[in-house]
């Protein structure tokens, strides 16, 4: 064999080995890829909210036959993600704190987070990590009921609240500027009890102040979404057997809004950043179907397909089983 022939033979062998490694290595990597199980629980439900107050582009027009404008009010679930990845039990958002508070808000179907977790076969003490999409009172309550969980909150979220609190103009500084509400002012939504619960986690050494992106478990990644709902909003990427999911809290308030590219639940929100957060989900998951919204009225129905495997649980609140890891048992009754 000529020298050139030997070189070609060597090169061909190299290619063959590389191809085998690619095939089998890839299969091994896929088999070892982390996969989580995911459920969704309805912490409570805001009842009969005018659609236009939630999504301006869906405002009710009396007599309209346009499907975007013929629904006067919607009921908005407050959704919590329950994510089991190996020995980690992670919550994304924690809903509201207490029943007394709910009576003032037109909210129903609340049940304590610990009781809701029991329905799924978990205990509150099993929760190892809590990622709050933002620190508003309807997403960061009940932290003290999760004694072993480490809280993950964005540095920018805390910085923006502190900035607002120190602002000299009283309406900008106010948590509530008027009895009727705080009209999306900078500190609006950060009520004392919720912030004390955040402080409680910090005081116990069970809080991580995140500055940007952070992987908190294999394949489970926090992505900042600054100003997509609040200054320090954060998304959570989760690998599952049905592909990657992205939880968005109120950056993803509405599934229909992500699908139709409309803003939703504008609070301390930069609408451009909310659209970029939608785009982030499209890029990570390959579309909009696996984007998990916090307040989508269609949650737990066929019209929001990823949440359709649902049932009614405590106090009329609903739950959904979204994805199971290999070997994970169904928790659906």
């Amino acid at each position: 064999m000529t020298r050139l022939g030997r070189k070609l033979q060597l090169f061909a062998s190299f290619l063959a080995v590389s191809a085998l490694l690619a095939v089998f290595g890839g299969a091994v990597a896929q088999a070892q890829a982390p996969v989580c199980s995911v459920w969704l629980i309805e912490s409570s439900r805001f009842m009969k909210v005018p659609f236009g107050a939630f999504m301006p582009d869906r405002a009710f027009v009396p007599g309209s036959t346009n499907p975007n404008n013929n629904i006067p009010t919607v009921d908005l679930p407050v959704n919590i993600g329950v994510i089991k990845c190996g020995s980690e039990l992670i919550l994304y958002d924690t809903g509201w704190k207490q029943q007394d508070y709910l009576k003032m808000t037109g909210s129903e179907h609340w049940a304590p987070i610990g009781e809701q977790l029991k329905v799924l076969g978990f205990n509150a003490a099993d929760v190892t990590k809590v990622v709050i999409g933002h620190a508003h009172w309807d997403h960061a309550g009940q932290l003290s009921d999760l004694p072993n969980a480490v809280l993950y909150v964005q540095k920018q979220e805390l910085a923006a609240i502190e900035w607002a609190l120190n602002y000299p103009e009283k309406h900008i500084r106010a948590i509530n500027s008027d009895p009727g509400g705080c009209n999306r002012t900078p500190a609006c939504g950060y009520m004392p009890l919720t912030m004390e619960e955040v402080y409680g986690k910090v005081l116990k050494g069970k809080a991580v102040v995140v500055d940007g992106e952070l992987q908190i478990a294999p394949g489970v990644v926090i992505h900042p979404a600054y100003r997509a709902h609040t200054a320090g909003s954060q998304l959570l990427e989760v690998p599952t057997s049905i592909g990657k999911l992205v939880f968005g809290s109120d950056a993803f308030s509405s599934y229909e809004a992500i699908r139709d590219w409309m803003v939703a639940n504008v609070q301390q929100t930069d609408s451009v950043q909310q659209f970029l957060a939608y785009e982030r989900c499209y890029k990570i998951t390959g579309g909009y179907e696996n984007c998990i919204a916090a307040h989508e009225p269609l949650t737990y129905t066929e019209k929001y397909p990823i949440t359709k495997n649902s049932w009614v649980a405590l106090n009329g609140g609903r739950m959904a089983e979204i994805a199971l890891a290999p070997g994970e048992k169904s928790r659906k009754p």
């Binding site: 439900r45 009842m47 009969k48 909210v49 005018p50 236009g52 107050a53 939630f54 006067p72 009010t73 919607v74 009921d75 207490q98 007394d100 709910l102 009576k103 003032m104 808000t105 037109g106 909210s107 129903e108 179907h109 508003h136 009172w137 309807d138 997403h139 003290s144 805390l158 609240i161 609190l165 500084r173 106010a174 948590i175 509530n176 009895p179 009727g180 509400g181 705080c182 009209n183 999306r184 609006c188 939504g189 009520m191 004392p192 009890l193 912030m195 004390e196 619960e197 402080y199 910090v202 005081l203 809080a207 102040v209 639940n265 609070q267 009225p297 269609l298 129905t301 106090n315 009329g316």
Partner: protein
């Protein structure tokens, strides 16, 4: 105001027209707030002027703790942040006690006064920590603040129903 108005209009419309197309059948569990008399409304309005500063002051107290624990651990800085809060709650307690209270709201009033006492004592405990470094002061302060915050929520349920909106 626009959002608050929309919410109220929406609820009223809904009472007339029935459930929205997307809403599943539900059983209402919400207790409607009791309408206040004119005298009670005056009390609620007077207390609101204090309450609107109580809430950011309470949150500022939590934040001083958060910044201390996650940042510099500088006790002098903590003292500088808490001192005005302690002064505020001392004054707030005095102002709340001075309000004329309609008889039907005496329980709510007492609840609110107790909250001011707890916030004041909590801020004093944080100042004590800044002086002696004993962490139990911070833990006690936190427990008192939690109780106080629950008390002002309960008072608010009677006086200012709907003060927080969906977020």
């Amino acid at each position: 105001m626009v959002l608050a108005g929309l919410v109220v209009l929406g609820w009223r419309h809904e009472l007339r027209s029935g459930a929205s197309p997307s809403a599943p059948p539900i059983v209402s569990q919400r207790s409607e707030p009791r309408a206040l008399s004119a005298e009670e409304e005056r009390y609620a309005a007077a207390l609101w002027e204090i309450h609107r500063e109580v809430t950011p002051s309470a949150v500022a107290m939590s934040f001083a703790g958060i910044i201390h624990e996650t940042g510099s651990h500088d006790k002098d800085q903590l003292e500088r942040k808490i001192s005005p809060v302690a002064t505020f709650f001392l004054d707030a307690e005095r102002r709340v006690r001075a309000l004329g209270v309609p008889p039907a709201l005496s329980q709510v009033h007492n609840q609110y006064v107790e909250a001011m006492v707890l916030y004041r004592e909590a801020s004093n405990d944080m100042l004590a920590y800044a002086k002696d470094g004993e962490r139990q002061h911070l833990i006690d302060a936190h427990d008192m603040s939690i109780t106080a915050s629950q008390a002002i929520l309960r008072a608010g349920e009677v006086l200012w129903p709907g003060q927080y909106k969906p977020h």
